[in-house]
Symmetry: C2
Subunit: 274 residues, 2 copies
């Protein structure tokens, strides 16, 4: 059981350790119960992009789950920078994982928990090709922590992506349990519909993505309740997340969209200036 998938070093609770020694105990609730959170961030080659926004989301989600960060935001920043400066590629994906730490058997949250914070880095293969979206049967469960926060309980999204791939898609479009369009398995969705740039509302099961938040903040996109028939009629579409930024969609459920290149570029450009 090696750690080939990781870089040469990982950061655990403020300390840098060799990746081949990087293990966690079997009693960690992140492992036994998916009890934790994560953030995926882009190392641009010189900085962690949107670091403050990622840490703000992590802090807010942690508070909702009753989790504490075991070290300061400054220590996290130093750790991520140290990891990245040793990375081979210029761009890289940084992942920060917060777990509730060890616990006895059962679901009850230990009165005294020892949360664990782990940072890892992975090379990022740039891929700017447009994607094919496929609407899948697995819903986003409105009102659950796993839909509202970026928790370690990700199996539904994994199986949603698998369903999309089996149907010839690159990414899944998941609907909320109310039937409205929610988001992709690991990205938010923006559509151009009757000239407006719309993104599914959080109440419909969308995850509150960092890039999505930036585009909303500058008024380039707006939240809406999007029903599947509107998705089937949109003029353009794009996916957004911290690693890909904005990426154009070529097909939705087999329907070809316009190239949308200029439209996507306008969103990407805006992102560079927020």
């Amino acid at each position: 059981m090696t750690n080939k998938a990781l870089g040469s070093r990982v950061w655990i609770n403020g300390e840098m350790v060799d990746a081949h020694q990087a293990t966690f105990p079997l009693a960690d609730r992140g492992f036994t119960l998916g009890d934790g959170l994560f953030e995926t961030m882009l190392w641009t080659g010189w900085e962690v992009r949107f670091f403050d926004a990622h840490m703000a989301r992590l802090a807010q989600s942690a508070e909702a789950l009753g989790l504490q960060l075991p070290c300061s935001v400054e220590a996290v920043k130093a750790g991520l920078n140290a990891l990245a400066e040793n990375a081979a590629s210029s761009k890289a994906a940084l992942r920060l994982t917060l777990t509730r730490g060890n616990g006895p058997r059962g679901l009850a949250i230990p009165e005294i928990a020892h949360p664990q914070l782990i940072a890892t880095i992975a090379p990022l293969v740039e891929n700017t090709s447009t994607v094919r979206l496929k609407t899948v049967s697995i819903p986003r469960a409105i009102g659950t922590p796993s839909a509202r926060f970026k928790t370690l309980s990700y199996v539904d999204n994994i199986i949603a992506l698998r369903e999309a791939r089996a149907g010839g898609g690159d990414e899944a479009i998941m609907l909320g349990t109310n039937g409205n369009v929610a988001c992709a398995s690991s990205a938010n969705l923006v559509i151009r519909y009757k000239g407006a740039n719309l993104t599914p509302a959080l109440e419909d099961g969308a995850l509150g993505g960092i890039v999505r938040g930036r585009l909303l903040a500058v008024g380039l996109i707006e939240e809406a309740h999007i029903i599947p028939s509107q998705l089937a009629q949109c003029e353009d579409a794009a996916l957004t997340n911290a690693l890909i930024g904005v990426r154009g969609v070529a097909f939705i459920d087999g329907r070809a969209l316009g190239s949308g290149r200029i439209w996507c570029q306008s969103l990407t450009d805006a992102l560079d200036h927020v």
Copy 2:
């Protein structure tokens, strides 16, 4: 990061190892994404109760998620027995965890996966007191793998239990996303309603519990679509799972039920003869 919560030994992919050495790689998808399954079984002092039923459920769930067991059922049985025969207490909780193993960044399932199978044991504190149930706001997401199977993505149930405890309950009653009664955070529900023994249907978000399955098979309980107002009027109620067997419910949302002792005992007795 110690393993105090585990016994002195754990079993990993067919080998017994010291618990203090029992760690896992950080790139394991069970840890990073909740991508795996588990079973919790009762060691009665002389056997693993309902072992065949647990393994059948695990195999069926694994097939649905595209996971393979890395060793034979016979090897698992030998491992569980070896763990249990060294346990201090006569009764114990055995947990079998199946993960998809290491993977690179992202949700896509590796073409060649190396699933990991881990067995641990924990002492079981017998508790026969009746429980107080509290209906919570966090739903069971009908149609998702995390609601249909016993996956490692358990955060919604953890927060459901936390909400119940904060409201003075011992266990949570979760409703399906369709509004019908589903199950508790780590048990199935049986109610006595107008003289019939009813348990929520799988289509309403109930997990297919082993004890629930046994009681259904012998015709002692029947599946039904139970709405909250029926729960509020039931004559008796019980929780079932592999560790507690059948346990009486004293209160539902503050309403006291009859002692139900004779009724519960009839279910328990039936379980001993199936």
